[in-house]
Symmetry: C2
Subunit: 305 residues, 2 copies
């Protein structure tokens, strides 16, 4: 890369993270802003360009952008972002290419996260892993045989929309019973509000986790239900993909042992005998930077061996 830098962008519904580095796991500098998606996509393009100039100072070679899916990767367009209204069909890759003046690679944010963890994080040394980002939604990414699995249109890994309960709870995607409707941050908060009634106004998943960690029995019950759902989904994914490792990141994973201690025993319970304990469930080693470092690796052409 010589003296050049690659830009990584992790575009979330809440937070926009922009960083520069060498594309090989090094993060030189990083800035975050609130996304405020209601400003529309051009305002976010302007933010990215401004941060890129200030961080890269003319040394930018390429950029990788992780964006919540699903995407039309061939056209470089956003298809539909439930958490980013007004973005449908926006030609994000071409607009950023034009505005930054360097090649831009677009990827699903959780696919980028899987790549980050595989190359530089918890998945180093593995050939087969799945990554789940449990936050506002539940995204996912797959590495199989040492290669990132993108799917036919680049949208592989929508683990949040694995059906957990046929005709179950309504999901933001318009369907019902999706894993995301049981184990995402908003799903945990909603369950807490239903169970705890008025005591629970304005609660978040983090609030539930704190109360559960403190031993509150109602919070523990809600938390346990969400972890049970997540474990059932992970067990199904283990049967489908036979990974060596399951890496869980995203905001909800900040609960730490409260999540991982439960998941270990529940995933073991829900997997069939010959898959039992073949895949450890571990926290993302790169924390909030999995997708950012993965996006940089894509920009540097390190998506595949």
């Amino acid at each position: 890369m010589g003296d050049g830098l690659v830009l990584g962008v992790d575009l979330g519904g809440t937070k926009l993270a922009v960083g520069v580095g060498d594309g090989a796991g090094g993060l030189r500098a990083r800035r975050t802003l609130p996304t405020r998606p209601e400003r529309g996509p051009e305002a976010i393009v302007a933010d990215v360009v401004r941060l890129a100039r200030s961080l890269a100072r003319g040394r930018l070679l390429a950029a990788g952008v992780g964006c919540p899916g699903p995407l039309d990767l061939e056209a470089g367009r956003v298809l539909a972002l439930p958490n980013l209204p007004g973005w449908e069909g926006f030609p994000l890759r071409d607009r950023l290419t034009e505005a930054l003046g360097v090649p831009v690679v677009l990827a699903n944010d959780a696919t980028a996260g899987a790549l980050g963890e595989y190359r530089f994080g918890a998945g180093r040394g593995c050939t087969d892993l799945i990554y789940l980002a449990v936050g506002t939604g539940i995204g996912g990414g797959i590495v199989a045989g040492g290669r990132l699995v993108s799917g036919g249109r680049g949208n592989a890994g929508e683990f949040g929309h694995l059906t957990l309960v046929p005709d179950g709870r309504p999901c933001a995607c318009g369907r019902a019973g999706c894993l995301e409707a049981y184990a995402s941050g908003p799903a945990i908060a909603r369950l807490a509000r239903e169970r705890l009634g008025r005591r629970a106004r304005g609660v978040t998943a983090a609030w539930v986790a704190r109360r559960a960690a403190g031993g509150d029995p109602d919070a523990l019950a809600v938390w346990g239900e969400a972890m049970d759902a997540l474990a059932r989904g992970i067990a199904s994914l283990i049967h489908c993909l036979d990974p060596q490792l399951v890496v869980v990141g995203g905001g909800v994973a900040a609960a730490g042992p409260l999540m991982f201690d439960r998941l270990a025993s529940l995933v073991s319970r829900y997997t069939m005998a010959t898959f039992r304990d073949t895949a450890e469930v571990v926290p993302a080693a790169l924390g909030a930077e999995s997708a950012l470092l993965g996006a940089m690796a894509l920009a540097a052409g390190r998506g595949h061996p």
Copy 2:
């Protein structure tokens, strides 16, 4: 391959198919026998060797064996076959290598089926497909980015053990609510027996399909329920893997349009908007030979591009 031949073996719980060909989709000759697994694995090894000698006449270069999973591919061993008692831990690869005197590649039968359809069947020209073999059980295989996905231990694609209904119907794997417990041949027959009572003694999935095709309302209801379950499972797999194509083979797929007409509309109903109609659901083009031709391709070193 010069004048040499590769051997393909498709070892099922009911039927043992052995063929020879060029490993590039050509099938020179083929024989099938009842497996009669109760005879134990050495009897089947002897059958394979006898058929191989008679079919290949000294021109055998290599062999590929598709075997119901899960397998320990590193050790070349069978882990556990619910439909083949007495096989647990049997060193199938090494015993066949020794007995045939040529290199033997062992693979999950549905993984071999996915490869067969990808290389020579319905999946030609695709880069991303999933294959489901719906029969005594439900097996599966994945091709992603033009490569066979094996998983960390070679057991990727156990789609039959995707949980369809939490704590639902008991499954042969010892768990509950698996797709296989709702849509495999025996599951369809069991459902028919439950619904139709004594009228339905000794029924099979094929019987249900015939009656349904003839317009029998009870049989149609049972068949519809199984297709509904299968479609829900396929929709979840589409969200996870974003395939261009879903290929369905196995004994139950012999029902033809009765299966595929229903699946088309149900899969479309159960997929989220941005995935809707992105993956066509089609019958296996190689019929009963998907796994046999895939196993030969593996033997010929054509598992990966």
